[in-house]
């Protein structure tokens, strides 16, 4: 469905969705029927140039675990106001049964100039009583002042600071949004979960934990030319944790080069009077990481996570994430210092 005259009416979209369910029901054979599933409204804000197929595939992969009403808004940099919408369904057949499970998807195309008109359209399209998550895939959109009207609808706004040109500026912008009360998530932080969990796991061992107060230096090696936000986040999280036990180490960032730029390559925690690191994690070739601590070497898989894996983790936390919010504040200070 495409609205005539470059405008769209929420009632019309809701009506089209109702028609869609009727037609899906008719397609169902015999008693099989169609089951509608929904646990949230997921609003995706993307540039028109963004890979439409990739977004569609990511949403389709997310649906079985996080069934949602997905509203995909594709923006084009245009001064003239124009909006269009269509509705369709993402369906899958679970566990070999005949019955389909389907989720609704609404696709809206909008010009930048229409941004102020969008919030009143999106608000009535959100599913009542369920959380609204906004996944903003474009730094440009996040920085448009009118975009804040859309973010105000969402309980949580998911960004990827790796897509921002200037990491320090990105962290600054996000701190500003957080100060305005927005619940935020950053996929660059999500990429760190496995690194952080490995570090935490090392110090579950009491013998290794005993060394933790001795940490005097932290080295974080990355691949980008400029220190990426992931490195700042990790430094923030580590120094914050160490401060709780009275250690205040120096932090050194190092660029090792390579791709992808946002990826970390090594983390080391050192004591000033010891030749060997207290603990280190190095990304070896491929997806395996080597973990060294207390003379023991172990391996763990640290694959580069795609959008699906990252969003899957974020959608599992519909509320605020205090650990991230704290790390964001500390990381922004580190980046600006």
């Amino acid at each position: 469905m495409s609205a005539a005259g470059g405008t769209i009416a929420p009632d019309r979209i809701l009506h089209d969705m109702a028609d869609l369910w009727v037609s899906l029901g008719k397609q169902g054979e015999g008693d099989a029927g169609v089951l509608r599933a929904c646990s949230m409204t997921l609003v995706v804000a993307a540039e028109e140039s963004d890979d439409e197929q990739a977004i569609g595939e990511t949403l389709a992969a997310l649906m079985p675990e996080h069934p949602s009403r997905a509203i995909v808004i594709r923006f084009r940099a245009e001064d003239q106001r124009s909006l269009a919408a269509r509705v369709f369904a993402q369906c899958w057949m679970p566990f070999g049964h005949r019955q389909q499970i389907c989720c609704e998807q609404i696709e809206i195309t909008a010009s930048d100039a229409s941004l102020p008109d969008l919030a009143p359209v999106v608000l009535p399209l959100t599913v009542p009583d369920l959380p609204v998550i906004l996944w903003c895939r474009s730094p440009r959109l996040f920085q448009l002042s009118a975009f804040s009207q859309l973010t105000a609808i969402a309980q949580k706004v998911v960004l990827d600071s790796a897509a921002f040109g200037d990491p320090a500026a990105a962290l600054g912008d996000m701190v500003g949004a957080a100060a305005a009360g927005r619940g935020l998530a950053d996929l660059s932080w999500t990429r760190l979960t496995r690194w952080r969990e490995l570090i935490a796991q090392i110090f579950e061992n009491r013998a290794q934990l005993a060394n933790l107060p001795l940490v005097s230096d932290i080295l974080i090696a990355h691949r980008a030319a400029a220190t990426p936000t992931t490195a700042y986040y990790l430094a923030a999280w580590l120094t914050d944790g160490l401060a709780k036990i009275g250690a205040h180490p120096r932090v050194q960032f190092r660029s090792d080069g390579g791709e992808p730029a946002w990826r970390l390559s090594r983390v080391e925690l050192r004591a000033s009077d010891r030749p060997d690191a207290i603990a280190s994690i190095s990304l070896a070739a491929g997806t395996c990481a080597e973990i060294r601590a207390g003379g023991l070497v172990s391996m763990a898989l640290l694959p580069a996570l795609n959008d699906y894996a990252l969003m899957r983790e974020e959608l599992a936390i519909p509320g605020r994430d205090p650990a991230f919010e704290h790390a964001l504040a500390v990381a922004a200070k580190l980046a600006l210092s």
């Binding site: 679970p94 566990f95 952080r196 969990e197 110090f203 061992n205 013998a207 036990i245 395996c288």
Partner: protein, 564 residues
């Protein structure tokens, strides 16, 4: 000067200052920051011995890198000793589960597994053997050679005969070596993957050599059967307690580690809408089925002595029943949950001798021709006596004597050589009190809640819905939730869940002594009558749903077995 151990320091935790005198020792795990005294000493001094009079600020050191919102549960370091390391359970279940935990980054980097069995083997030969087992029995999971290489560094082996008392001091010495090399913190988990007859000798040996105690924690895991009747179960517990406290004994029931069984608790106590219906006013009856399509598969000699009642109903199905019917626990702490489960098991009515044959059915499969192949009857299986009275099928009607469940029958059945392998719980609710819609019997079909434990773990709710179109015609529809597909991720195996639990020290899903004894008390009453009855076996053909008497047992109360 005696050492201060963690438990002695704990009560002092609220006091910032502690005076230590020369020679005073601190346990590892406590951090002391010197604020006055030995100025040259390090901040971050942990353990060891104070060299001179110092005043210390101390605190119990906690890992500051935790994120419970995103991280999995915290897993402490430990060494796991597997008795019977060359056996089937180790190869098929334990090592694949441990490898999978390592793959998922759930184990401490210094984890260690020390296998013990009679077969002479080097560490490397043991590693090679376990590698083959992991590759063969790893289910729904990729194998990674690098992860295995790191994991295998923590695998060790010692050959030895449990009947030889020298093995236990040798084990102690080997554990000390491993602890030094792998930083296992003195924590040791003993896993008895042996014949049940060896449980007591192993526990006694560990106790005599003082291996059952140490600087860290000690835990012991035993597999069912936990005795073969109430008296032997009590004897087993008594002997285990000579070396281990009850809180250190983990009786594993892998059914409780299955996702759906755990989900029963989430379903009942995480949702407000079901609990009001979970009682005699709304529940008509409950059926618990554990069916196997296979026979005794070479275990005829063992099974002949056990039977379905002892092998399945006394443990697995009783535990499932307890989980279904228990009262809400005050918290999700192990003691709290296990107290409620135990209370429920003690509430199951113990049958009087004259009630047993009316409320139970014993069965044994006979030969059949299935799918073009001849299938032997139980008495034709290897190692089985030709006149064996063993029950390969058992069905019982239990009543739970408490206010919630008074009068509600709980039907439990388990058998071998039934039409398919399936374990499920069916909770049938009362039908609507008045049938106001015209139609056939489907318009009065009761609501049914099905909790599938295997093979496809999930939950289904059946209810009636109006058929589209003119007129008021109803049809039953099903709302399905499936673990495998709904969450789009692999469910951990029961052994992964339970191994992790015991390493963490979470006994929620393990069986406690009083629970074992309560279920034996119920089963003993039945077994005693069965032992004194001569049954006309075989009484069901392989590939059928059991003896007709089982259907009759339900029919007496107007019920029928649900066909899974």
């Amino acid at each position: 000067m005696p050492a201060l151990h963690a438990e002695e320091l704990a009560p002092l935790a609220g006091e910032p200052l502690l005076q230590l005198r020369t020679g005073h020792a601190l346990s590892v795990g406590h951090i002391c920051r010197i604020v006055k005294g030995d100025a040259g000493a390090r901040s971050g001094f942990i353990g060891g011995v104070a060299s001179e009079r110092v005043i210390l600020f101390y605190m119990s050191l906690e890992n500051p890198f935790q994120d419970p919102l995103r991280f999995e549960r915290r897993v402490p370091e430990c060494a796991m000793v597997i008795f019977g390391a060359n056996g089937d359970l180790t190869k098929r279940k334990l090592l694949p589960a441990l490898y999978r935990l390592a793959y998922e980054r759930r184990l401490d980097a210094g984890h260690a597994v020390l296998g013990i069995s009679r077969t002479p083997m080097t560490d490397d030969q043991f590693r090679g053997k376990m590698l083959a087992s992991v590759k063969e029995f790893l289910e729904d999971s990729p194998f990674d050679a690098d992860i295995w290489t790191a994991f295998a560094q923590g695998l060790f082996y010692m050959a030895g005969d449990i009947d030889n008392p020298a093995i236990f001091p040798a084990l102690d010495a080997r554990l000390k070596e491993i602890e030094a090399a792998r930083h296992t913190g003195g924590n040791v988990l003993f896993y008895l993957s042996t014949q049940p007859s060896q449980y007591i000798p192993i526990a006694q040996g560990l106790g005599a050599a003082n291996v059952g105690k140490g600087a860290g924690w000690r835990r012991i895991v035993i597999e069912k059967p936990f005795g073969h009747d109430l008296a032997s179960a009590q004897e087993l517990s008594t002997e285990l307690h000579t070396a281990f406290e009850e809180s250190e004994v983990y009786r594993i029931d892998h059914y409780l580690g299955k996702e759906t069984v755990q989900n029963i608790l989430a379903f009942r106590f995480g949702n407000g809408i079901f609990e009001p219906l979970w009682n005699r006013r709304y529940v008509n009856h409950v059926q618990i089925t554990a069916a196997e399509s296979i026979g005794v598969e070479g275990r005829g000699a063992y099974y002949q002595e056990a039977g379905a009642l002892r092998d399945m109903i006394q443990n697995h199905l009783s535990q499932v029943l307890a989980t279904i019917a228990m009262e809400p626990s005050a918290s999700f702490r192990p003691t709290s949950v296990r107290d409620e489960r135990s209370k429920l098991l003690r509430s199951i009515r113990v049958m009087k001798p004259d009630e047993v044959l009316r409320n139970t059915v014993s069965g044994q499969y006979g030969p059949a021709h299935i799918g073009g192949a001849d299938v032997p009857g139980f008495r034709q299986e290897t190692g089985v006596k030709p006149d064996a009275q063993t029950d390969t099928y058992a069905a019982v009607t239990f009543f739970v004597d408490n206010w919630r469940w008074a009068g509600v029958p709980f039907y439990l059945r388990s058998g071998k050589r039934l039409p398919k392998r399936v374990t499920e719980i069916a909770i049938q609710f009362n039908a609507a009190p008045l049938a106001i819609f015209n139609g056939d019997e489907t318009t009065t079909a009761p609501n049914l809640l099905i909790l599938r434990i295997q093979p496809e773990e999930g939950i289904s709710l059946k209810f009636l819905s109006k058929r589209p179109g003119a007129g008021m015609k109803l049809r039953p529809v099903s709302m399905d939730f499936n673990y495998g597909s709904s969450f789009g991720e692999r469910s951990p195996s029961a052994y992964e869940t339970l191994l992790l639990d015991v390493i963490i020290g979470d006994a929620t899903l393990y069986t406690r002594q009083d629970m074992v004894e309560a279920s034996w008390a119920v089963v003993d009453a039945i077994q005693h009558v069965w032992d004194n009855t001569t049954f006309d076996f075989p009484n069901y053909a392989s590939g059928t749903w059991g003896p007709k008497a089982s259907d009759d047992m339900l029919a007496r109360r107007g019920h029928v077995w649900r066909q899974p």
